[in-house]
Symmetry: C2
Subunit: 427 residues, 2 copies
């Protein structure tokens, strides 16, 4: 733990604020790590080492500007940056210079963060993968769409990185890469300047290697200090829920949930199985219909004017979306609204639900994996967090997902802090 | 009515499709109208006559591409355009070239529309006015934030133009300029590529000089042919609702509502006064808190990195937004959700509500007027349409607003068609 690149964001920020570490030493250490590992991992679409070092020197010459003072971060390349190219993972935007920072990037910088570069994303945060490999095994996907952000954090290139989730683009890569990933409540972090895929679903969130760092990051971006838990939740009541289609849960995901259930109970949580909830049947299909319908219309310019540059998988998704009629879209939205009205009944006495984060270990590189266990929660606008929990047969990480009650991001983070300790003790 | 610039979009499209009018003649006529009137009205931030004429010639050489084939439109300058500068009404973005079309612009072009240019907007669609004057009286505001779009349509420069509404930025200028303006249900028209102000409120809509054109425009943008009414609604049930703070309604707005009530009843509608609905008290303040809180965060880059270029009124709004705490924001959102859950009780047996579109006639140029009678309906995500109804003491137009039930945009347009005929007969 002597090398700065291994430090958590919280510890690095503490040391920098106390004068026991310079931002420059930290940035240099991260850049060295990247130089050593990027050839294998491919997490970055763009790195600006000179600028990051210049910003680090400026940090070292000024009093702390905010809770992320001097902390290097990665920015998913569907987020605009004033000073770096922003390619949205697409040939259609190669070298694109949007001329302004996305709101979340400006807020992170205002909190003192140093943007090391832009992380690889699938095209428009949809399904067509970029070059990133899973840091635990280069033949496997890191997940997507926030592929580079998850891989960079998992591989100790940066302690924090931005992600976005429309289906499962934060939770799934976090699970595959063995780190923490949080999709907060819909709208909690300002979305302006982030490429729109499906505006009723797109949610900005982040990756870190532990829950405390996740909370630090989100609190800094939202001016909500209450997101940083004073301590782990006391005796949380957690429901183990096996969503449809349960047959998609592979043995290692079932094992991860069982191990998590045991560890949580041993640590003092009340854990009980939540009975099947038929009101939520069909939400996977509803999410898909809404996402594709909205994407086909919100990416109208790309679909109509840049068709030759769009990847086949993106084009197929947009074609699917054009085939979702307005009536089908309206019906899916009505179904989502009805399901949201049943959230109280779904949660009952439980503070959070324990559900799969992904079907299993990271699959081979050809795809970014399946978001089936993420779609309903994104559609319901609920806060979700992935925690590392297990290893599969191939030795790759398998996470679990905790889903919080509507708007209760702070409570979810306190429960996640409890669960993180319980899972560590259980290993 | 012999000059093409006076034609409705529907009539122009019909004539072009039938070979009785060329797109070129129509575009030339609109450009001549603009050349004659723009010095007084100031509706445009950017005009590209050569490109519009080239596109018109191309239209004339191809079979109709869509329902707007050859129809010139104005695009509010907070919407990105690949081929024209996009300044968001701000010195901070002078000469900005976003490199892609906003989704709604791409969809309009795919339907055959010809973008004549970008229309003047307040800075970031907030409160700081641009150069536009009310075409009915140059010392008065056209309203805002969609100032140029409303003025251009009212002054026969284009038959259709885009607007957006976060508080009252479509309904208010429509009322002040004596035209039809519709804010459809939240999310009905794809928002990607439109500058974000407050993402939970921002809604794309449009201006026209009659209801049929409004329906034509919205149907073309959404692939929802059902938005074009087969005919006027039969015997609609309309509630006359006097929202709080009613003291803001000036005599000409009270007179416009009374005249509309009489005209609607005479035409066969059931019109009755809807009793005060205390569940909606406080929604004006809730909308303001949500809008300002979100704007301060979504315009973080502009607030933090371009402060010197931002207009004082915008800066003051963003400062107000920073002062809206997360707790106050959450409370306002909860209040809005509770009000949305009461919409069934509010509408009761009524198909639509007749409410003020604006407090009165257009005030003098220093402001864009007050959105107090628009904020609640925007917050509730309801479809709203402004119709010309009256003239005030200064001889300026005064509109009325019809608010439809949630998601019932098609029904609202059919009712508006009925109301338009009733109001014309009543004059």
């Amino acid at each position: 733990m002597s090398e700065p690149f291994r430090l958590s964001a919280s510890e690095a920020a503490r040391r920098i604020a106390a004068g026991r570490l310079t931002a420059r030493a930290l940035v240099e250490s991260c850049l060295e790590r990247i130089a050593r590992r990027e050839g294998e991992v491919g997490a970055w679409a763009h790195i600006d080492a000179d600028q990051a070092l210049a910003e680090a020197r400026a940090c070292d010459q000024s009093p702390p500007r905010g809770p992320l003072h001097g902390v290097p971060i990665g920015v998913k390349d569907i987020m605009n940056t004033a000073d770096m190219p922003t390619g949205y993972g697409s040939r259609a935007y190669r070298g694109h210079r949007p001329g302004a920072d996305a709101a979340c990037v400006a807020l992170a910088r205002a909190a003192g963060a140093i943007v090391l570069g832009k992380t690889e994303t699938t095209e428009f945060a949809a399904l067509s993968p970029g070059k990133t490999r899973n840091p635990h095994h280069p033949a496997h996907t890191p997940g997507g769409s926030s592929s580079g952000s998850a891989a960079a954090v998992a591989d100790f290139m940066v302690p924090l990185a931005f992600g976005t989730q429309t289906a499962g683009s934060i939770l799934r890569p976090a699970s595959f890469c063995g780190i923490v990933g949080m999709k907060p409540s819909f709208g909690l972090i300002a979305p302006a300047g982030t490429k729109v895929l499906a505006p009723s679903l797109d949610t900005v969130g982040g990756f870190a290697r532990d829950v405390a760092d996740t909370a630090l990051f989100l609190a800094a971006l939202t001016d909500r200090p209450e997101l940083r838990p004073a301590g782990p939740a006391q005796r949380p009541r957690i429901g183990l829920y096996r969503p449809q289609p349960w047959r998609e849960a592979q043995p290692e995901t079932v094992a991860a949930l069982d191990a998590a259930r045991e560890a949580l109970a041993r640590a003092g949580a009340t854990v009980a199985e939540r009975a099947p909830f038929p009101d939520f049947d069909g939400l996977v299909a509803a999410q898909l219909a809404i996402m594709n319908h909205e994407a086909a219309r919100n990416l109208a310019w790309e679909r109509l004017c840049r068709a030759a540059e769009i990847m086949p998988r993106t084009a197929a998704m947009l074609a699917d979306g054009m085939a979702v009629s307005a009536a089908d879209y309206d019906a899916a939205r009505a179904q989502a609204a009805a399901a949201r009205a049943r959230l109280g009944a779904f949660f009952g006495e439980f503070d959070a639900m324990l559900v799969p984060a992904a079907p299993g270990e990271a699959p081979p590189l050809a795809t970014t994996g399946d978001a089936v266990f993420n779609r309903p929660w994104t559609l319901l606008h609920l806060p979700c967090i992935a925690l590392p929990a297990h290893r599969g047969a191939a030795g790759l990480p398998v996470g679990v997902q905790l889903v919080g009650r509507s708007g209760e991001d702070a409570r979810l983070l306190a429960i996640a802090l409890f669960a993180e300790a319980a899972l560590a003790a259980g290993r």
